[in-house]
């Protein structure tokens, strides 16, 4: 009986929708509509994603034919503090692990971006500057550009014979004496020097800062000719370095010696091999003992020692020796002014050192926070990816910097001269340290191609940063500001927005495009679309699969789906491949009441089906309050007032089942509109007459057949007084004025004015 009833009903429903279609077609004027390709927002990304292969698989993992080169470096570096020059000689061992024969190698000469003949300034189409410092004025107008760029002294093979090379801006081609077969290695030697830039004047991710007493603080990176990546996707990644889009680098082992003035304190990528030679006896003791200090930072170089050191000016030198295993780059920082503190961090039973080096100008902020922030970052990121595999992570205080290298990074944030600082300075400093230390995971270990895809390291890292900052100080870094922080950008001028899937040199509003928007997108995925459990597992799977490898965007997109059984193509398409924004609203709410009298619609249905009204199966009907058939008495009728329902229940349910049945009293037809281009879940909050609230989340797929509006019937035993779409602003809805019913007639301005008068 029960079954039959349902079949009858569904038959009616199906046929009624068929008839409706027919009727529609008849009334429409005869006009041939043009055909079109699949424009459904839930279609798969087959056209956008590269075809999977044996190197990058369809599941998003590295394939069995995936290959990766290895490059090892042995370098001797001299820092000339007197003249701000850097000298180096490096022996490079290039391992061709690919299956290809290589005729030449490409080496990156990033310093050439600041050479006098650099084309970087030429591609900037800016108007006159607001003001010019004398330095900038001479640089811009008086033919005195900074004499930067590499001076290559020689390129030789292992026997000391010169090797041919050609320099194209920031890329140098090494012409191999004979082609390098798969599995072979090639060893060569480059000698070079360059003038170090003052990054406070000439900008840049590395260089030096000069203090009033003449002391310098060096943060040195991109300082040696480095091999470009040769991979399965791009071949040689030898796209020029224009100054913005960062680096693509191979993993390898580094053995580096750095000679500095004797009174300098230095740290770098890797582990110091000769601590007894470079530290005083006391410092060495503290350096060794710090490995047991898990609770609080302890000094290795004290503020007093740093103060003493910065007064002098040693002409004698000392040499720091480092070894770093399986890193993609090398950076170091050196100064007389450095205070150094340290704390041990327990990462799943393994001890990692968190270090900070800063001048006294960074205090009191730095001694309070830096090393603790490093430790927190390592812990939170390790939870979300894999255990931090390197022996230390170091935060260097450098004015106006925020830049990352393996195990070491430069971070801004200094109080005023009076030691005072605002909450913004503090949160900026904690934020930048979290961000740059976080880069150890993306892209230093999950080694994406930064030159091509900025978002893969900056965006993904900015996302995990949100979680780490929140863990460090939930009041200073509330999560509630995400993802609504991105709505201003997404609702902005379309002519100044590029999709996230754009190469970094060619986008407007770089920070929002490559950092904040992808981070906000992943935040929405985790918090709202997938949920933390599904998301975290998939995200971790991606990180583990591509740890110490070169992933592409497709590997990320595919892994997130592969590990979660969620089809997210619609999300990647909208959020990453387009510039669309989300705007969902509630357009109309209709109230319905129950009756056992067939409505006009039911009568029409019967007519169309060629039966009389009596032949309709026993049924209840919903009457809209705004229809002619509605009578006031229906308002007081409950569903259980109708015998047809009661009889049915009597016949079909056990007493226990009956006790669980609750007949709703109120029926609503909700019509949602979507002026925005993106598809998103609809989150609805219902507030009832008794003040209680309830939430319902409809998946984004609710938009799959109609991209403009959808209706839902919602029933409850209590009357709804208020409906709010996306009440917690979880979906980056750019316009909240259409998010409530009844419509909020008081404008934001009027609300503010009223409160202002009250206050």
């Amino acid at each position: 009986m029960k079954k039959l009833f349902f079949i009858a009903i569904s038959l009616f429903l199906i046929s009624s929708s068929l008839i409706a279609q027919e009727v529609e077609e008849k009334t429409e004027p005869k006009k041939e509509k043009e055909g079109h390709y699949n424009i459904n927002k839930f279609r798969q990304l087959h056209q956008e994603l590269p075809t999977p292969n044996k190197e990058h698989t369809a599941s998003g993992a590295p394939g069995y034919e995936y290959t990766q080169q290895q490059v090892d470096y042995k370098m001797d570096i001299i820092l000339d503090d007197e003249n701000q020059k850097l000298f180096g000689e490096e022996t490079i061992t290039y391992h061709n692990n690919s299956k290809d024969v290589l005729e030449y190698l490409w080496v990156q000469l990033d310093q050439n971006m600041r050479a006098p003949n650099s084309k970087t300034p030429d591609i900037e189409g800016e108007g006159p500057g607001v003001l010019y410092t004398p330095g900038n004025f001479t640089k811009s107008f008086m033919g005195k550009p900074f004499p930067g760029g590499f001076n290559i002294q020689h390129v030789k093979d292992i026997n000391g014979n010169a090797i041919g090379y050609m320099i194209n801006q920031t890329m140098m081609r090494i012409d191999l004496p004979k082609p390098l077969a798969s599995g072979e290695k090639f060893i060569f030697n480059i000698k070079w020097w360059y003038n170090i830039n003052n990054y406070m004047v000439d900008r840049g991710r590395s260089g030096y800062e000069s203090f009033p007493d003449g002391n310098k603080l060096y943060v040195i990176a991109q300082f040696f000719p480095r091999l470009a990546v040769y991979n399965n996707v791009e071949g040689w990644q030898n796209m020029q370095f224009w100054g913005r889009s960062e680096f693509a680098l191979e993993f390898g082992n580094y053995q580096v010696s750095i000679t500095t003035p004797k009174d300098h304190i230095l740290n770098a990528t890797g582990v110091i091999q000769n601590p007894k030679e470079v530290f005083t006896k006391e410092q060495y003791k503290r350096y060794s003992e710090a490995k047991n200090s898990f609770d609080n930072p302890v000094f290795i170089v004290t503020p007093q020692e740093a103060l003493e050191a910065e007064k002098g000016k040693e002409t004698k030198t000392k040499t720091w020796k480092f070894y770093a295993e399986n890193v993609r780059d090398f950076g170091f920082a050196s100064s007389r002014k450095f205070i150094w503190d340290a704390m041990a961090v327990d990462i799943n039973g393994k001890t990692v050192m968190a270090y900070s080096l800063y001048p006294k100008e960074g205090n009191p902020l730095w001694e309070e926070h830096s090393t603790r922030v490093v430790a927190n970052t390592l812990k939170v990121y390790s939870e979300h990816t894999f255990d931090y595999p390197y022996p230390h992570a170091t935060s260097i205080n450098a004015q106006r910097q925020g830049m990352e290298y393996p195990m070491i990074c430069w971070n801004y944030g200094r109080p005023g001269p009076d030691g005072k600082y605002t909450e913004r300075t503090k949160s900026g400093m904690i934020g930048v340290i979290t961000h740059e230390v976080g880069h150890n995971f993306f892209p230093m270990i999950v080694n994406s191609d930064e030159r091509q895809w900025t978002w893969m390291d900056e965006g993904i890292n900015s996302f995990v940063e949100i979680l780490a900052e929140y863990k460090y100080d939930s009041e200073l870094f509330p999560m509630s500001k995400y993802p609504k922080n991105i709505t201003g950008y997404m609702a902005g001028d379309q002519s100044r927005i590029a999709p996230i899937m754009s190469q970094g040199d060619n986008v407007f509003n770089f920070g929002s495009n490559a950092y904040a928007k992808p981070a906000a997108g992943l935040f929405i995925l985790r918090q709202t679309i997938m949920g933390p459990e599904l998301f975290d597992h998939a995200f971790k799977t991606y990180a583990k699969r591509w740890k110490f490898k070169h992933p592409t965007p497709a590997d990320f997109f595919r892994t997130m789906e592969d590990a979660s059984a969620m089809d997210l193509d619609w999300f990647w398409r909208g959020w990453f491949y387009t510039t669309g924004y989300n705007d969902i609203g509630i357009k109309e709410v209709k109230k319905y009441h129950v009756t056992d009298k067939p409505t006009q619609q039911a009568k029409d249905l019967a007519t169309r089906y060629g039966i009389t009204i009596d032949q309709l199966p026993p049924a209840l009907y919903l009457v809209s309050e705004d229809s002619d058939e509605f009578t006031e008495d229906l308002k007081n009728k409950k569903a259980e007032d109708y015998s047809i329902l009661n009889n049915y229940i009597e016949e079909n349910f056990t007493p226990e089942e009956k006790a669980d049945l609750k007949a709703p009293k109120y029926f609503y037809e909700l019509k949602f509109e979507k002026p925005g281009d993106l598809v998103m879940p609809i989150i609805v909050e219902f507030e009832y007459e008794d003040g209680t609230k309830e939430r319902k989340q409809y998946p984004a797929q609710i938009w799959r057949l109609n991209d403009d509006e959808v209706t839902k019937v919602f029933h409850s035993s209590k009357a709804i007084t208020k409906i709010t779409v996306d009440p917690d602003e979880q979906t980056a809805d750019v316009d909240l004025t259409n998010n409530s019913w009844p419509k909020n007639t008081e404008t934001k301005f009027e609300q503010f004015k009223k409160n202002q008068i009250k206050g």
Binding site: E126, G127, G129, V130, L131, Y132, T133, N136, M200, V201, R203, R205, P212, E246, Q399, R400, Q401, G402, M403, Y412, G416, P417, K420, T422, E423, R424, G431, V432, H435, E436, S462, K481, N485, G488, Y489, G492, D493, S495, R496, N509, F510, G511, S512, Y515, A516, A519, T747, K748, F749, E750, F752, K753, Q756
Partner: protein, 166 residues
């Protein structure tokens, strides 16, 4: 001392300095004409750190915006800045606005401004040069709503004015 000042100035020429900035140089101004109140209601939102940079420079001291250290008479600084950089011409006549108040919301400060006694709106011209001096890429978006009519202007250094005729 001298050197410190120099650093301060250097900042000006390098607004986009860090590689971590979650930033874009945009302000949003929403203007609505409410006919039955004869009122033009303006909400102007600016990034606090950018505005602080500019105001500090003008004031030659640190105003510590939106912090516990904020100077006492901060609204006077805001009013002066807005009067110089935000101009409204209604029906071909320059109009002063009332400074209703401000609110801090995360990284953003919002100013609530009102022009009253506008019986009929024939034309509306907005000039917003806020932050243009110090931020090369600053774009000031103006969204105007008059009854059912909506219009958006994207103002920048080269094009700081938007005019609407009804």
């Amino acid at each position: 001392m001298k050197l410190k000042k120099l650093y301060f100035f250097l900042l000006l020429s390098i607004p986009l300095f860090a590689f971590t900035m979650h930033k874009y140089y945009v302000s949003l101004c929403e203007i609505e004409y409410v006919e039955d109140q004869k009122s033009i209601q303006i909400i102007l939102g600016l990034f606090i750190d950018d505005l602080e940079f500019t105001l500090n420079k003008d004031a030659k001291k640190n105003l510590y915006l939106a912090s516990t250290e904020e100077v006492q008479n901060i609204d006077a600084y805001y009013k002066e800045y807005l009067n110089n950089h935000f101009k409204v011409v209604v029906n071909n006549k320059a109009q002063n606005f009332n400074f209703i108040g401000k609110e801090y919301d995360g990284d953003i400060v919002r100013f609530y401004l009102e022009i009253t006694d506008i019986k009929e709106l024939k034309s509306l011209q907005i000039t917003n040069t806020s932050l243009f001096r110090d931020f090369e890429n600053q774009q000031n978006i103006i969204k105007i709503k008059v009854n059912k009519f909506n219009k958006t202007f994207y103002l920048d250094k080269n094009n700081p004015k938007g005019l609407l005729n009804f």
